[in-house]
C-alpha cells in the first residue's frame, strides 16, 4: 500500500492539534444518539454508493455471476464511471466475504480477514502500548526539565518528518524481518501524539492546586501522581484515540515492508496484485481494516469514559 506516509503523519499532527483544541467538548454524554447517527451515516453512504452504480455503473448482475449472465438492471448512463472494477457493488463485496478467500480454500474471506486483522491488531496493540508509555515517559521528563525539553523536543518533531516509507526499510534492515520490526514502527507512529499531547496535558493543572499541595509539603512525585497526571487525563485519551488508529496504519505499512506473511498488510498486497480478478476482496479488506480501527478507537473511548467518569462535562 503506497500511502505517502509523511502526508499522513502531517495530517496526524494537525489532527492532534485540532483534537486538543476540541478536547473538552469531545467529552460528551454517552447516549443512544451517537450510535444511531453513526448507523444513519452508514445507510446514507450505502445509498450513495449504490446510487452512483444505479446511474453510471455497468449492467447489474447477481453477485459472482459471469459476464453474459442475466442483467438485473441497466444503468441509463452509457458512460460507466462506476464500473464493477473501480467500484464493486456493496452486495458483491458482502457476498465475497462468505466465499472461500482463494480457490480451493477452506476458510471464507471474512474468516480469513478477521484472522489477519487480529494478527495485525496484536502487533499494533503492542506498539500502541510501548509508544504510549514512551510518549508518557518523554513528556514526563520534558515537563520536569526545561533543559531536556529544549534539547530533545526538536528531535521528537523531526522524527515525524521522516517518511515512514523511508524509515520502515531501515528498521527492517536493522532488526530483521519479523514482528519485532512491525512493533517498532507502530511504536514510532504512536509515541508522537502522546508526547505532544502530554507536554501540554501535564501542564494544564490549576496553579492554585499546586500551591495547595505545596502547602501540604507534597513531594514532586506526589504532585505528579496526585495533580499533574490526573489533570492531564483528557489530553492523554485524546492522544490515545489518535494513537490507536495510527498504530494500525503503522502496523499495516510495516507488515508490507517487513514481508510479514500474515496480517492485513500482506493481504492487501496480495489482493492488490489480483485486483483485476477479484476487486471485491481488496474492498472487503479495506472495510475490515477500517472496522478494526474503529473498534480499537471505541475501546479507548470506553476506557476514557470510565476513567473520566464523574468529571464535569462527562456523563456518569
Amino acid at each position: 500500500m503506497s500511502v505517502p506516509a509523511h502526508d499522513s503523519v502531517r495530517q496526524l499532527e494537525r489532527g492532534v492539534e485540532l483534537e486538543l483544541e476540541a478536547a473538552e467538548p469531545s467529552l460528551g454524554r454517552p447516549s443512544l444518539r451517537r450510535p444511531l447517527l453513526f448507523l444513519a451515516a452508514v445507510v446514507v453512504v450505502l445509498f450513495a454508493w449504490e446510487g452512483v452504480k444505479l446511474l453510471g455503473g455497468t449492467p447489474w448482475r447477481a453477485p459472482g455471476a459471469l459476464p453474459g449472465s442475466p442483467v438485473l438492471w441497466n444503468p441509463p448512463f452509457r458512460w460507466p464511471f462506476a464500473n464493477d472494477l473501480n467500484l464493486p457493488h456493496v452486495y458483491s463485496i458482502v457476498w465475497a466475504m462468505f466465499q472461500p478467500f482463494q480457490r480451493g480454500a477452506e476458510d471464507s474471506l471474512l474468516r480469513y480477514l478477521v484472522g489477519a486483522a487480529l494478527y495485525t491488531w496484536r502487533e499494533a496493540f503492542i506498539g500502541f502500548v510501548l509508544g504510549s508509555l514512551l510518549g508518557l515517559g518523554l513528556a514526563t521528563i520534558f515537563v520536569h526539565s526545561r533543559l531536556a525539553e529544549r534539547a530533545f523536543v526538536p528531535y521528537v518533531i523531526a522524527s515525524q518528518t521522516i517518511p515512514i516509507m523511508a524509515l520502515a526499510p531501515l528498521v527492517v534492515f536493522a532488526l530483521g524481518q519479523g514482528v519485532g520490526s512491525v512493533v517498532v514502527i507502530a511504536t514510532y507512529l504512536t509515541f508522537f501524539p502522546v508526547t505532544i499531547a502530554m507536554l501540554r496535558g501535564l501542564r494544564t493543572f490549576d496553579p492554585r492546586a499546586l500551591e495547595l499541595l505545596r502547602s501540604y509539603g507534597a513531594s514532586r512525585r506526589e504532585i505528579y501522581t496526585k495533580l499533574r497526571l490526573p489533570a492531564s487525563m483528557p489530553y492523554l485519551f485524546t492522544a490515545l484515540k489518535i494513537a490507536a488508529t495510527a498504530s494500525i496504519v503503522g502496523a499495516i505499512i510495516a507488515e508490507d515492508t517487513g514481508a510479514i506473511q500474515e496480517g492485513l498488510g500482506r493481504v492487501i498486497i496480495t489482493f492488490n496484485q489480483y485486483y483485476a480478478t477479484g476487486p471485491e476482496k481488496l474492498w472487503a479488506t479495506i472495510f475490515v481494516a477500517a472496522i478494526l480501527g474503529i473498534l480499537f478507537f471505541l475501546v479507548i473511548r470506553v476506557a476514557e469514559l470510565l476513567v473520566l467518569r464523574g468529571r464535569p462535562g462527562v456523563g456518569e
Binding site: R208, A209, R214, S215, G217, E222, R311, P312
Partner: protein, 305 residues
C-alpha cells in the same frame, strides 16, 4: 488545643517583598512588616486591593519568600513549618480536584501526610459533618454549589488539624447570607479546634465580626498602618452584629483604612508618630506596630514609578 502561651506562633520582623518583573521594573509589595500572632488568635488582614494581603499570607505559608526580613512560625523558619505540615490553606476559590469525590478531596492532605486509610475515612466523615456536608460525601465537586464547595475546602484544610489556618478571602465570591452562615461556621470550628487563623478579607464587618485583631494595611507598598483590637465578647452571635460596640469597631477600622490612604502621597499613611497628618487622626494609635518612616515610603514609591 493550643495552650495560651506568650510565644507568638507567627512572628514577622522587617519583612519586605519586592517583585522584579522581567523588564527590570520592581514592585514593592510589602515593606517593613512587623507582626506577632499569638497561638489561638483570629487575625484578619484588611486593606485596599493590591496592598499585599495575599502576598503576606503566602509569605507566612512559605509559598513565596520574603525579599528581606525574618519569618518565624512555631519557632522555626517558615519553610520548615511548611514541611512539618503546620499549615492549612483556604483560597478565594475552593480549588477542589475535579476527579476526586467530596470525601476524597478532604482526604487529600491526609494521604500526603501518610495517615492510614481507616483514619482518613473516619476523619473525612467527621470533617464533612462539621461543615454540614455529611450527606454529600460521594458527590463530585461540580455537583455542589459554590458555597458547598468552599465548605469542602474548609473541611479539607481542617482535616489534618493544622496549627495555622491561612484563609485568603475564602468567602469573597459568596452572597451575604451564605457568607454570614459560613462566618458562623468558621467561628464555631475555630472555637472547637483552637487553631490559629489568619484571614484575608475585603469586608470590614466580616473582619470585625470574626477577629480578635484586625490588621489594617496601606496601599502599595503594603505596610501595617494600624492594628485594631476587637474586644467584643465571645461567642459572637447575631446579636453582636447589631450592637453599639460592633459598629464602633467597624468605624474604627474604616477610619484606619481611610487614614492609610487610598491615594499615594497623602502622607497620612505613616503610622507611629504621623500625628500631624490631617486625614484621620487615629493613625497614630497604631501602638505596638512598628511603622515605616514616610520618607522611606515615598522613596519606594518613586522607585516603583
Amino acid at each position: 488545643m493550643t495552650a495560651p502561651s506568650s510565644a507568638p506562633i507567627v512572628r514577622l520582623r522587617g519583612v519586605d517583598k519586592v517583585f522584579a518583573a522581567r523588564d527590570g521594573a520592581r514592585t514593592v509589595a510589602l515593606q517593613g512588616i512587623d507582626l506577632d500572632i499569638a497561638p489561638g488568635e483570629f487575625v484578619s488582614l484588611i486593606g485596599p486591593s493590591g496592598c499585599g494581603k495575599s502576598t503576606l499570607l503566602r509569605i507566612i505559608g512559605d509559598l513565596v519568600q520574603a525579599t528581606t526580613g525574618e519569618v518565624t512560625v512555631n519557632g522555626k523558619p517558615a519553610d520548615r513549618a511548611r514541611r512539618d505540615r503546620d499549615y492549612g490553606m483556604v483560597f478565594q476559590a475552593p480549588v477542589l480536584f475535579d476527579w476526586r469525590s467530596v470525601e476524597d478531596n478532604v482526604r487529600l492532605p491526609l494521604e500526603i501526610l501518610g495517615r492510614d486509610k481507616a483514619w482518613r475515612v473516619e476523619r473525612a466523615r467527621q470533617m464533612l459533618d462539621l461543615v454540614d456536608l455529611g450527606e454529600f460525601t460521594k458527590h463530585m465537586p461540580y455537583q455542589l454549589s459554590g458555597g458547598m464547595q468552599q465548605r469542602v475546602a474548609i473541611a479539607r484544610a481542617l482535616s489534618f488539624e493544622p496549627r495555622i489556618l491561612l484563609m485568603d478571602e475564602p468567602f469573597g465570591a459568596l452572597d451575604e447570607m451564605t457568607r454570614e452562615r459560613l462566618n458562623d461556621e468558621v467561628l464555631r470550628i475555630w472555637e472547637q479546634t483552637g487553631t490559629t487563623i489568619v484571614f484575608v478579607t475585603h469586608s470590614i464587618p466580616e473582619a470585625v465580626f470574626l477577629s480578635s485583631r484586625v490588621v489594617v494595611m496601606s496601599p502599595r507598598p503594603g505596610r501595617i498602618t494600624k492594628i485594631v483590637d476587637i474586644d467584643l465578647p465571645r461567642p459572637r452571635t447575631d446579636a453582636i452584629r447589631e450592637s453599639e460596640a460592633y459598629f464602633a469597631r467597624i468605624t474604627e477600622v474604616r477610619e484606619a483604612l481611610r487614614a492609610g490612604g487610598g491615594h499615594a502621597g497623602s502622607g497620612a499613611g505613616g503610622a507611629g508618630g504621623a500625628d500631624g497628618s490631617g486625614a484621620g487622626g487615629d493613625a497614630g494609635e497604631a501602638a505596638g506596630v512598628a511603622g515605616t518612616a514616610s520618607a522611606r515610603r515615598t522613596a519606594a514609591e518613586g522607585a516603583v514609578g
